[in-house]
């Protein structure tokens, strides 16, 4: 891109300029001895073309919608259509969540995002002993198709796209969604949406696993295969760095561990006989928008380029859609402070802006009160308005990838890509992502980064406004959203009624057929769908699979 002799001359000039600047430091020192990004990447005083040696515009950046997709996955980006504004919501009961979805759609939200409670995410019915205290707390409780029918009551499933944060039992919840669509007269081919379905990051970062890795990967590839035939528009997995980052990783680790998991899914699909261009186009990603604004912008760009190169060079993908990182972003929950919670509105705005400048396809903005409790309606509205302000008022959407060509952004993009590629090489040596998790490597890397960050905050090296600087005495927050403990009793009552009402013979037959299939090799999806249709519960279906597959035991990394 630049003339090498000119670059050499420039680097010499830059070195002299640096020496001149340093000569003045004795009199006017800089704020810190060394500067780094929040992830620990060293940051120089100044960047110039001299910091981008050997850069090749066509090979490294190219054009939006073209390989290597550094500048975005679509040619027109937000000039065509804004990102999908998708607020994650769901609490207590299906009725209440249904009301919140209708409110959000009414407010101009363009996609639904369902949060399930922990028993649902771990495949327990509300009446299971381990569900005590957890029913309806972090999302909606779904025990059977009946709850799912209530959840989407009056919402035409051919008109909305729905993202479901569900992993270990993703096949069951997807089957329930198809079941609701059938009742609405909507064919599965018309359904739009995403299931998270990313079990590997559950083992390393999020914790809602059920089965061991091998049967889990089988279920995931069963979903890939079933959807390629029957739910072709569905995003069958959302490979998630979000939770890896929340667990404490750096930006580089977020990219590396996410893409390493992606590689594991592609390999599992290949082993199951699915070509890279069958599953490649249905992979989607999910990243965090953290505090270090420019590092985040560079991170999304680096992830896009690195994945495109992996898919092309490592897997030989041909279909352009296989090469693209299409991703959802959520602002960093871990960056919110319980102190002076209104400051979080501003944090979220910067984070959301970084995601937009990084070319996200969809976005969730956190609510200011989420370090304290589930978000209130007012807080959710401000969070959604933040996205609308970026889209309609800031002007950053009018041209594609506006920060490209910034020497610092391009340098950071290169650095993040190179360091992430190095991690992926290390993970390959360990036998891939699943093996690296079973050896505790990924967990240890993440938890050590988390501890380093905490120490930097406690030592005052890293300032958190309102927490370790600019503190105020403030009244205790009030009006926080609470979940009524009677939700569990209500859910248990409905479950008992359902079990009295349904055809229990058909349920038993469907479960026994599922168990048998699980012991063999056939695709489990049609059998799960059959069990769901006759109102077998989530817990019954997962227990059937637990009997065959066993349960995962976490490795100790402490």
């Amino acid at each position: 891109m630049y003339d090498p002799t000119k670059i050499a001359a420039l680097r010499e000039r830059q070195e002299k300029w640096n020496q001149k600047a340093e000569a003045k430091l004795a009199k006017a020192p800089e704020r810190k001895k060394g500067f780094t990004t929040i992830s620990g990447i060293p940051v120089a005083r100044l960047y110039t073309p001299g910091d981008l040696p050997g850069s090749d515009y066509e090979a490294d950046l190219g054009f939006p919608g073209e390989y290597p997709y550094t500048r975005g996955v679509q040619p027109t980006m937000y000039r065509g259509r804004f990102w999908t504004m998708r607020q994650y919501a769901g609490f207590a009961t299906a009725e209440e969540s249904n009301r919140r979805y209708k409110y959000l759609l009414d407010q101009g939200q363009t996609g639904l995002s369902v949060a399930f409670d922990l028993p649902t995410q771990i495949g327990y019915d509300s009446d299971h002993p381990l569900s005590q205290g957890e029913v309806g707390k972090v999302g909606v409780a779904i025990d059977s198709l009946a709850d799912m029918e209530t959840l989407f009551d009056g919402i035409p499933l051919d008109k909305v796209s729905t993202s479901m944060t569900i992993n270990a039992p993703a096949a069951v919840l997807l089957a329930m969604y198809i079941g609701v669509a059938e009742k609405q007269g909507v064919p599965s081919e018309a359904l739009n949406g995403t299931i998270q379905n990313d079990i590997l990051k559950e083992y390393s970062s999020r914790g809602t696993y059920i089965f061991p890795p091998q049967p889990s990967l089988r279920i995931i590839t069963n979903i890939f295969e079933f959807c390629s035939r029957h739910v072709p528009k569905w995003n069958t997995i959302s490979i998630s760095g979000y939770h890896i980052r929340e667990a404490g990783s750096t930006a580089v680790q977020e990219v590396a561990f996410t893409l390493a998991n992606g590689i594991a899914y592609v390999e599992a699909a290949q082993k199951a006989g699915l070509g890279v261009d069958v599953i490649g186009p249905r992979l989607s990603f999910f990243f965090n928008a953290h505090l270090d604004f420019l590092e985040e912008v560079a991170k999304y760009r680096a992830a896009r380029r690195l994945w495109a190169r992996i898919m092309k060079e490592r897997f030989g993908a041909q279909d352009p859609r296989s090469l693209m990182v299409r991703f959802h972003t959520q602002t960093a929950g871990c960056s919110l402070t319980a102190q002076q919670p209104k400051n979080n509105i501003v944090r979220v705005a910067f984070q959301a802006l970084s995601a937009v400048l990084g070319g996200t396809q969809s976005l969730h903005t956190n609510s200011m009160d989420e370090a304290l409790a589930l978000p209130s309606q007012e807080a959710v509205q401000i969070a959604l308005r933040t996205q609308q302000l970026i889209a309609y008022e800031t002007g950053v959407t009018e041209t594609v990838d506006p920060l490209a060509g910034s020497y610092y952004i391009e340098h950071l993009t290169n650095t993040i890509e190179a360091q992430a590629a190095e991690y992926i090489r290390k993970i390959d040596e360990l036998g891939g992502a699943a093996a690296a998790i079973e050896k505790g490597f990924i967990q240890r890397e993440i938890q050590e980064s988390a501890y380093r960050y905490q120490k930097a905050v406690e030592e005052g090296e890293r300032v958190v406004v309102g927490l370790n600087k600019f503190q105020v005495q403030e009244p205790k927050p009030t009006g926080l959203l609470r979940v009524d403990p009677v939700v569990r009793e209500q859910q248990m009552r409905q479950l008992a009624e359902l079990k009295g009402r349904r055809d229990n013979g058909a349920v038993a037959a469907s479960l026994s057929a599922l168990g048998q299939a699980a012991r063999g090799e056939e695709n489990l999806l049609p059998l799960i769908l059959q069990a769901v249709r006759v109102y077998a519960t989530l817990g019954e279906i997962c227990d059937t699979l637990r009997d065959v597959f066993g349960e995962y035991t976490a490795v100790s990394t402490l």
Partner: protein, 133 residues
């Protein structure tokens, strides 16, 4: 071993919550402060936690819950702590716990609740002052 006996802490994740960043950071910090720390891992029932506390003969149980299930889980652990006669074990908690829930948890016997943003140094000091010697 010469000198004072080390304080033994059971760091525990009761319930189904998978958020373990906080509890792991606490484990590192307490170890760096010279304590012996046993971590339960995820998805522990109150019964499992109290049984482990007895087996490991700990001075402190430090629990973390971010799912909102503290209102059931913390008092249930305290009930079992009393039933099993672990009266001199210091029990503390942390996570996403609304201020208005704290009085009831303290009445149930949880000695202190540490919310988001708490420095590990504060928790270390608290344990050093209160744990049985």
């Amino acid at each position: 071993m010469a000198g004072k006996k080390k304080i033994r802490v059971l760091a525990a994740k009761p319930g189904l919550d998978g958020h373990d960043r906080g509890v792991k950071v606490i484990c590192y910090a307490l170890r760096d402060a010279g304590m012996e720390v046993v971590y339960t891992g995820l998805r522990q029932t109150p019964e499992q936690i109290v049984t482990t506390a007895m087996q490991e003969d700990v001075d402190v149980i430090a629990m973390s819950v971010l799912s909102g299930a503290h209102d059931y889980l913390f008092p249930r652990v305290m009930e079992l702590v009393r039933e099993r006669g672990l009266n001199d074990v210091l029990v503390i908690g942390g996570g996403i716990i609304p201020d208005e829930d704290i009085p009831a948890l303290k009445t149930a016997g949880i000695a202190e609740i540490f919310g988001p943003g708490t420095y590990t140094a504060e928790i270390i000091r608290y344990i050093q002052e209160r744990a049985r010697k």
